[in-house]
């Protein structure tokens, strides 16, 4: 072999490996040591031997995370502001294609300023194109619901980089990073990832790149589903004491989730968005599951508005697509009512979780801790007659149910008496007495007597009961994609 050619390759490779440091550090943090097979390290902005646009601004390849193959890529800001070019997008498309054909997860660090303004296409016939079946956009759309896709927004994601990120199942934002556009004559428009997280566009916020890589590995771990300790949380035995004796006092549902799931296994998605609905991945006896739960300890007291409905619906689709069994923890006063909720489109949005639950095929285990009024129970548990019925509907002794909130019902039924009451205290007493009577009708043992639930169990029995059922349902990924995951 010609000495000079070998030398040129070695020098160019060394230069490339020495450049693109940020991207390489990110990928090194993410994948198992010495596991990366890099694609296109010699790609350049142009075709000259002296080209210094290392890896053409996108370092990518196939590595392993905790022993499982993953396609990974990161844009490199020090190379032409991480801009997207014909070459580096073909590289990404190739990786997407590998992920699609092998059902590998794909992770991309989206740090760049959109398309490269002066990108030049290589002149045929010199170059044989390497490309995937799909471009980056439709490739990510194709992966949706087939294999997990994760975007990390670290630095700045403009235009095409933002588009890539928002096509991924999971978007992780490194605090202080921005998303925006540099299109047209409007100059640069950018906003912090925190703003996007608050409106549900970003699922997880972390402090730095290392934390982002850990979050990626944690998220992918639920897809790999290879265990964990399976040990209960130290707070498990006190799970029943989290719900206060006073039925009108709120409590933090996150504590219930922590106590129910395996120790240190909970990974919350969308924490900054719609606080009245909690969505978390977790493990139960080592098995990956998805938990969605109402949050009484939130401004809406667990009521489901359009955002909460969207959040739950998307989470159900995500877990269904990736064959993660669902656990729902129910304590809500129903869907949100009032002019603001109606303006927010609740009459249409409310149907989304109902439809997602109806069409799912993963098992669902639901636990009603306290209340669920109106359509509230269905939003969390689906219908008893759905395509796929809930595997198990449990209630705790503190359960209460009704067509509407018991206080609201009291107000309607006892309206005249309440209005005629001499004092506020008396009015409240009339209301509460009625509510208590109505609660008694559907609470505790009587919830079991009417067979409204498959069983009424003690809080400490819940974990074991679900675990026992879960063991009978092995996780099998279907041979074809069930459905994509709705981004919103």
């Amino acid at each position: 072999m010609e000495e000079q050619a070998v030398q040129q390759i070695l020098e160019a490779r060394a230069a490339s490996l020495g450049g693109g440091r940020t991207a390489r550090r990110r990928l090194a943090d993410l994948v198992d040591e010495d596991s990366l097979v890099e694609y296109g390290p010699l790609a350049g902005r142009g075709s000259s031997v002296e080209d210094t646009a290392y890896a053409d601004g996108l370092v990518g390849g196939v590595g392993t995370v905790d022993g499982h193959p993953v396609a990974v890529a990161s844009y490199e800001r020090s190379v032409l502001e991480g801009t997207q070019s014909d070459r580096n997008q073909r590289k990404l498309s190739k990786l997407i294609y590998l992920a699609q054909t092998n059902r590998w997860p794909l992770v991309v660090f989206a740090d760049g300023d959109g398309a490269r303004p002066d990108d030049h296409m290589p002149v045929p016939p010199i170059v044989v194109y390497t490309r995937g079946r799909w471009d980056a956009y439709d490739g990510l759309a194709e992966l949706s619901g087939w294999a997990p896709t994760v975007a990390v927004v670290s630095g700045r994601a403009l235009d095409g980089h933002a588009g890539l990120a928002f096509l991924c199942d999971l978007v992780i934002g490194v605090r202080g990073s921005t998303i925006g556009s540099r299109f047209g004559d409007g100059g640069l428009v950018e906003r912090g990832v925190e703003d996007y997280a608050a409106r549900g566009e970003i699922d997880v916020l972390v402090d730095d790149d290392e934390a982002a890589s850990r979050a990626v590995a944690t998220y992918l771990g639920y897809w790999f589903d290879d265990g964990g300790s399976g040990e209960p949380d130290p707070t498990h035995d006190d799970i029943g004491s989290i719900v206060p004796d006073n039925r009108r006092r709120p409590y933090d549902m996150r504590k219930v989730i922590t106590a129910l799931a395996d120790q240190s296994s909970v990974f919350e998605l969308g924490a900054a968005f719609s606080p009245s609905m909690i969505t978390s991945l977790a493990r139960l006896g080592g098995r990956s599951i998805g938990i969605f739960a109402n949050q009484p300890f939130s401004p809406l007291a667990g009521a489901i508005d359009s955002d909460a409905a969207d959040k739950a619906s998307r989470f159900v689709e995500l877990c269904d697509a990736y064959e993660l069994p669902l656990v729902s923890l129910v304590d809500n006063p129903g869907y949100m009512v009032g002019p603001d909720a109606e303006r927010g489109g609740i009459a249409r949005h409310h149907a989304r979780p109902l439809a997602s639950l109806h069409h799912r095929t993963v098992p669902l285990y639901s636990v009603q801790l306290r209340k669920a009024y109106g359509l509230g129970p269905y939003a969390m548990s689906g219908y008893g007659s759905s395509r796929k019925v809930p595997e198990l509907r449990l209630a705790w002794p503190s359960v209460e149910s009704g067509g509407m909130s018991l206080e609201g019902a009291a107000y309607l039924v006892k309206r005249k008496e309440i209005q005629a009451a001499a004092t506020k205290q008396e009015a409240r007493s009339i209301r509460d007495t009625y509510a208590e009577q109505m609660r008694d009708v559907a609470a505790g043992v009587r919830a079991g007597r009417t067979y409204s639930f498959d069983d009424v169990v003690l809080p400490t029995e819940t974990r074991g009961r679900i675990l026992s059922m879960l063991e009978r349902v092995p996780r099998t990924l279907p041979a074809a994609k069930k459905h994509p995951i709705d981004p919103r």
């Binding site: 801009t83 014909d86 997008q89 398309a115 490269r116 799909w134 471009d135 956009y137 439709d138 759309a141 949706s144 235009d159 933002a162 588009g163 928002f166 096509l167 998303i179 925006g180 556009s181 299109f183 047209g184 409007g186 428009v189 906003r191 703003d195 996007y196 549900g200 566009e201 969207d310 869907y335 949100m336 009032g338 002019p339 109606e342 303006r343 489109g345 009459a347 249409r348 949005h349 409310h350 149907a351 109902l354 439809a355 109806h358 069409h359 109106g374 359509l375 269905y378 219908y383 007659s385 759905s386 509407m404 909130s405 206080e407 609201g408 107000y411 309607l412 709705d486 981004p487 919103r488």
Partner: protein, 487 residues
Amino acid sequence: MERQRIDDLRAAKLVQHDPARPDAVAKVHRTGKLTARERIAELIDPGTEVEYGSIAAMDPDGHWVAEAGGIDYVATIDGQAVIVSSTDYTDHGGGYGAGRLERLFALAREHRWPVVFFVDGGGSRARHPRVGMDHVELNGPYGPYQLFDGIAELSGWVPTIAIVSGPSFAGHASLAGFSDVVIATPGSSVGMGGPPMVEAALGMKLTPNELAGVEMHEQTGGIDLLVDDEHQAIAAAKRYLSYYRDQGSGSPSPGAADIGDLVPETGPYDMVPVVRALVDEGSFFELRPVFAGSVLTGFARMDGRSVGILASQPAVGDGMIDESAATKVGRFVELCDAHELPIISLVDTPGCVTTWPAPVGERADGEQADGSPSTVTERGVTRWHTRPVIAHQHRSVPLFSVQIRQAHDMGSQIMSGSANARSVPVMAVAWPTVEIGHVDGFSATRHVNAHDDVIEPVETRERIVRLLRHIPRSLERPSKKHPIDTW
């Protein structure tokens, strides 16, 4: 059989008919509206109705008791077998109860019959209005589905058309919310919680229309079509349903030859006349015409073939795609795909914008007339903008893409999907006005301007019509492709 049995049965059934309740009928007519039976009579082909569930129970004395709250039929509309139903607010508030609709939903699933129903009312009845504990009920929630999973199951399998004429709250609003299309009359309302519940929960005294008026919903996307009265609502429902079937042929619009004159070199223009000039004469039926007006969605015909029309509307916000426009497109693509309607996409958009709340300091002055908080729009994409991209990737109906002028940002993927998608556009053409070579923040991520041809505007119709002949429409399949997202 004793004659008395027949007479008793007839008498029991007549209770629900209009001649037996002149006061209720007069009350309805005073509001300018139709009774439940008048609505159905105007909707269906005469003499085709088969009524379900007219008798609810037998009372302890052995008398038959009529069902209440509404009427349900299998019938035909323009020869198409359908489930039709109307609530009747003069009869126990129109509350649904005994499982008739559940039963008919199961039949619709079984026989693939579309559903057209009037859904004004206040939700489920607490108990059967004419039946006590010692009555023996005839009807019950028999069949595989309950009410809401029944309508969820129908989504994407048959067209579901809801008409709201009056207040529709709680379960009734939920049925509307699940439907493919919601047609409403002025003054009506659609809401999850009615005025009494809102008063109890939030202490606000509001009329149904103040709380959840369809005029508001027309702006915000909660309904699809606001028409002048019940006659128009019925006509619109029939028209909507007509696109479920193809016709043999159709005539071009009188303006077809001048279609190219409708597009200026620069600046805004109204896309509606362009659509009308392209499709069969008088066949464009726009859906959601007010909500997210920067994109147009609707049905039309091309030489008789039913198609979905998706178009930028440069006359509204320059045709910029915001979150609402993106979701409008995404849902429409799912709708057309489920019902096997080929899509024609007319693309002319400068790109995507994102809506943010106005800075707090500016909100007091900037509050909009309808009381909603003021907002600012900025360039950029969100997750909402990726919804239609994913919908296009997974559709299998053919799509014809016509790029008229510009398609920046994700505009082309949002309107037409990707050139390399699972189901590639059957034809992607451009008019001579197309902007090419323009570099924006997205163009490196796709094969820009991947057009099969550049054609004269006047050639567009014939191209599409010819290709459509090669792609026969078939609704034959063992199960639905996918449900249609309710939002």
